[in-house]
Symmetry: C2
Subunit: 643 residues, 2 copies
């Protein structure tokens, strides 16, 4: 960690605030423990560790697993491999940071899923798509890897929560990052790989499906063309020659103006397999995104329903993909909205490898101006039923279904990494959940608050409560009951109820003076039929459909009575007034922490809350005015709604 690191920069790797009385030794068995040893020495130098530590590889342990046990005046940390050992060191240090006494430690751990991945949507020019924390940590002026010291600190943060793969460039590949397939781009990739390698983090390269034309000088990128297959083989060989332990490639094809196999009349497997085969000699994975839908839909055409697209595209070709293809499926069928059901594609394909894709970045969830605890939503995602016996959580790390957890990065070169200090929690939580999907949001939030702010009750408890509330507060002032997309177009911050309503993006609420929503049941678009029968029935039936997402599935009149006894319209008004009040409550809570937490942290978060309050008011007033203007029905409590 750089010497002048601020509180915010250190994130969850804070030093202890005690004076060291004795120094302790860190013993390592064998050369392959040396990096873990370095990291351990660095860590304990700042912490209340007065005993010795010994490190070793124990191949009987699960490869990335570890055990930590105090015995014979020494903390013994064993890992199944160098990475496992490193995770053991970080796990040990975290326990100490959270106040546990080294001499009482006795625990072991192993990751739930093998691939725990951050996707950087970083562009070659240093901008970050959907990034709200400054410029890219990775790219500047078309060059990868411009600040290697900071990258090392970043790698440590990621590894300390178990991330073991990162993609280095935006899935929307543009000419500057496309050159990663060329000798010129690979020079830099080698350097960056060297930074991340000791931390057990492998790199992924985002490649454009049209690379055979862009890079290879071919006249087609048709995956059925033999020259195209040769291009991909040569490209893979070139990249693996430079970075032999590359994790693989990532492709966004047939998606939002990126070329894909559809353009040549092929199904997705034909497009994926030609690249996957090229990666096979090197053990590389091909991550192939499932965000394939018609982004030029005619809003008048009610026969198309965008949430159906991924399932319709991929389910019929289950089993046709090469064994090193992993389909990367967004957790919801829309796009990281505040409230959606899970994608029906998750777990549906029995013969295709799958990754679940989250956003750590807060594209639709406050853009790191508003506080938003993703972990609470992820816990809800994991708790949604897959069928009558299993939840989505059961799919993750089952060894059969979801074997990778991927998330889009929320980091940038802001001093605090994430723009909003409290958004560091989301990065932390992603790693922790990918490691152990059974962790609750509350447990993770408590870990993070403890690591960052310590455990003093007057600090710890209010921050935990605020963070646990944050997701539902944001939802209250956002689009109601799973309707989604009432957001300003393109940049996705702030309300615009009709913003996407008549656009080509396939996202419509069709609100009129009487009702709102798209009927996605068997009487409507029949989207519900894509779910396993048990779940289909839950969503199909208005009585059993979870009310918080009822407008995702049903079209309802404004006077529809909710379980609370309120009408739908009154619920909208009430939640939007409540949302703002809750943000005002957050501000009061935060102000109670002044002087108790570092000034820098206090001030930066306080400033974010001002932005959040303005945003919450804007959402409240726009949503309420919109529905008031559309229905002519006033708030039952007579609160201010602008005409």
């Amino acid at each position: 960690m750089k010497k002048d690191a601020s509180f915010s920069y250190r994130a969850w790797l804070q030093p202890g605030n005690i004076e060291k009385t004795t120094s302790s030794n860190v013993f390592a068995e064998g050369d392959n423990c040396s990096f873990a040893q370095e990291e351990c020495i660095l860590g304990i130098a700042e912490l209340a560790v007065d005993c010795d530590v010994s490190l070793c590889i124990d191949e009987k342990l699960p490869a990335e697993g570890y055990s930590v046990k105090f015995s014979e005046n020494c903390v013994k940390i064993s890992g199944g491999c160098t990475s496992g050992l490193l995770y053991g060191v970080y796990g040990f240090l975290a326990r100490v940071r959270m106040g546990e006494c080294p001499t009482t430690l006795d625990f072991s751990s192993k990751p739930a899923v093998a691939m725990r991945v951050i996707n950087h949507w970083d562009n070659g020019d240093g901008s970050v798509e959907r990034g709200y924390a400054g410029k890219s940590l990775l790219w500047k002026d078309g060059k990868l890897g411009y600040d290697l010291d900071r990258l090392k600190d970043y790698a440590r943060l990621l590894a300390s929560v178990g991330i073991n793969q990162i993609s280095v460039n935006n899935v929307n590949v543009r000419p500057l990052t496309a050159k990663l397939l060329t000798d010129e781009g690979l020079k830099d990739l080698v350097i960056v790989a060297e930074i991340f390698r000791p931390f057990g983090i492998k790199l992924i390269v985002g490649v454009h499906f049209d690379s055979p034309c862009w890079i290879g000088g071919l006249k087609t990128s048709d995956p059925a063309d033999e020259k195209v297959a040769v291009f991909w083989k040569e490209a893979a060989a070139r990249v693996y020659n430079a970075v032999p332990d590359l994790a693989g490639f990532l492709v966004k094809a047939d998606s939002e103006f990126n070329l894909g196999p559809l353009a040549f009349g092929h199904t997705q497997d034909i497009g994926a397999n030609v690249i996957a085969k090229a990666l096979q000699p090197f053990g590389g994975i091909l991550y192939w995104r499932c965000f394939v839908y018609n982004c030029l839909q005619d809003w008048r055409d009610t026969t198309i329903d965008r949430p159906k697209a991924a399932y319709d595209t991929f389910f019929p070709i289950d089993g046709k993909f090469e064994p090193n293809v992993i389909l990367q499926i967004k957790h919801g069928p829309s796009d990281f909205q505040v409230r959606e059901p899970n994608s029906p594609l998750l777990g549906a394909m029995k013969n295709t490898r799958q990754a679940i894709e989250f956003q750590v970045t807060q594209e639709y969830t406050g853009q790191q101006k508003d506080m938003y605890n993703w972990a609470v939503q992820w816990e809800e995602v994991f708790s949604q039923p897959f069928n009558e016996n299993r939840t989505t959580r059961d799919l993750v790390g089952s060894g059969k279904e979801v074997e990778a957890v991927v998330a889009v990065n929320n980091t940038g070169d802001d001093d605090n990494w994430c723009g909003h200090l409290l958004s560091q929690l989301n990065l932390y939580a992603l790693g922790r959940l990918a490691w152990d999907a059974s962790l609750t949001a509350e447990a993770i939030t408590k870990e993070w608050v403890s690591l960052t702010f310590g455990k003093k009750a007057e600090i710890f408890e209010p921050i935990v409560k605020m963070l646990m509330d944050s997701r539902h507060t944001y939802e209250k002032y956002n689009a109601p009951l799973g309707i989604c997309w009432m957001v300003c177009i393109h940049h996705h911050y702030g309300p615009s109820v009709d913003g996407y309503e008549y656009m080509k993006w396939g996202t419509y609420h069709r609100a009129d003076t009487k009702a709102i929503g798209v009927d996605r049941t068997s009487k409507g678009t029949n989207y519900t039929s894509q779910y396993q029968p048990h779940v289909r029935d839950i969503y199909e039936n208005l009585e059993t459909c979870p009310e918080e997402m009822v407008l995702y599935f049903h079209r309802l009149a404004y006077d529809h009575k909710l379980k609370s006894g309120k009408t739908l319209l009154q619920h909208i008004y009430d939640t939007h007034f409540e949302g703002v009040e809750e943000v005002e409550g957050f501000i009061k809570t935060w102000e109670s922490l002044k002087g108790l937490i570092p000034d820098e942290a206090y001030t930066s978060v306080r400033a974010r809350f001002d932005m959040q309050l303005e945003n919450a008011k804007e959402w409240r007033d726009v949503i309420n005015s919109y529905f008031y203007r559309k229905t002519g029905i006033a708030d039952a409590q007579g609160r201010k709604i602008y005409e």
Copy 2:
């Protein structure tokens, strides 16, 4: 004109299609006629001119005026100055192009206003703000004047319709174009000035109000600061040393995030005068735009009304400006909308020089995808009453009020200059109207069609009719009855009824389930009080307010009966269905011209009509669905409105 010039490139300077039988001489008296002589020789070489031509300066004529008279076997063209002579040559050539026999010519002419100006909103990177005809003709890669041959052809086009000033850079000045005040930028400006000078066209430089900081290295741009005054004096001296006949500077201050005197607590005159004084030693003009309004308005605040802003800002400081300041006032109080009243500021200031600003470019009027004849709207603008005795037309060229006509360019490096071939009419019309404000749209349109396509009735008549209809057809499918702003945000093409409704731009229709519009009468925002009493009364009164702009002034219920007997809502439905039908009619008309006009012209315009038809349908359906969803009231004729 370049040798391989296409039909579209030649625009209204088409060659005759007859074989020359004899050659004719062009005599010139004195050296200062030599450029006009060159132009005349070039022109008649392609036209049916068999007699000689003689050119001379006659200082008894108005400076830019001219006379053309055939006598003694020779067409005698006299100009009040070199520019006047040049206009005489172009006027003569135009008459011949339109089929008049040189031997019958006997006419004279002079411009109504002294300054006939095109403002280029061209950026240093080659993009054109609100440009729909390719890249900039002026700028590329930060450099001004990269294709001097084409610029010469451009200068000829402009001069041929009497344009005598152009600004060379966007009023939103950015660092690349800000360097026009530096020695580096001036090198290129000198070269471009040399191209335009012989055509009688003077350059204007757009300058940023914050130039003292940007360019001068000062710590403030406060116009009351003595160092700032020195900066402007030195900058003016530097520019005039390079281009002694520069027309002056153009400033957009306190407008849409551009700094201005308000930021320092000053009124606009304080900001303008410091720059104006710096220009005085060189006879330079300062054009100071009046587009000053709060672009960060809270939509909830009904006490602010954006159309009032220009008058409120400038009327109180009438008479306080230096004599070389010209206030540049947009024709309407909004922003080049399809239908607005005239700005109440026009003519209101008795002791301040004024320019009227139009757009030749079609920012809100179809973006050169849709056919739109600005001349029809400009005729309506000119015909609006200023008071009980005078129309706005009477202000233009009166010698007291509007002494400059300015328009934002519609040109770019597309082969046909304007993106849409038929948009060339707008550039032509702007020059003609600035020259002679009494010309009717029909007269100008006929001139242009005759010059471009010839006078054969089966070509001429349908094209004239289509162009004369185009403005009202576009209006029919656009925002109804002067409500304005129902347009996609930022890019301004296509419908978005609520797009600006909850934004900070100050543009609201406040439609609810019963009514629409902002009451701008004395019972509402009292905007009407800014007009001269006679006009105020017209707009104030629902009975006398012109119905085509009734929603600019009045809030009306959807069941309000219009003079046609239709309800407001049914009028909206009807006009939107009609608009699409009329575009379909244009396509039929155009298809009847196949084979009669050059293929290139036929094909390019036919392709634009496809875009226009799609746009018209989008407008029809979005507007109609919006109001149907909001009111629940169906179309009386049962036509398709999407739910």
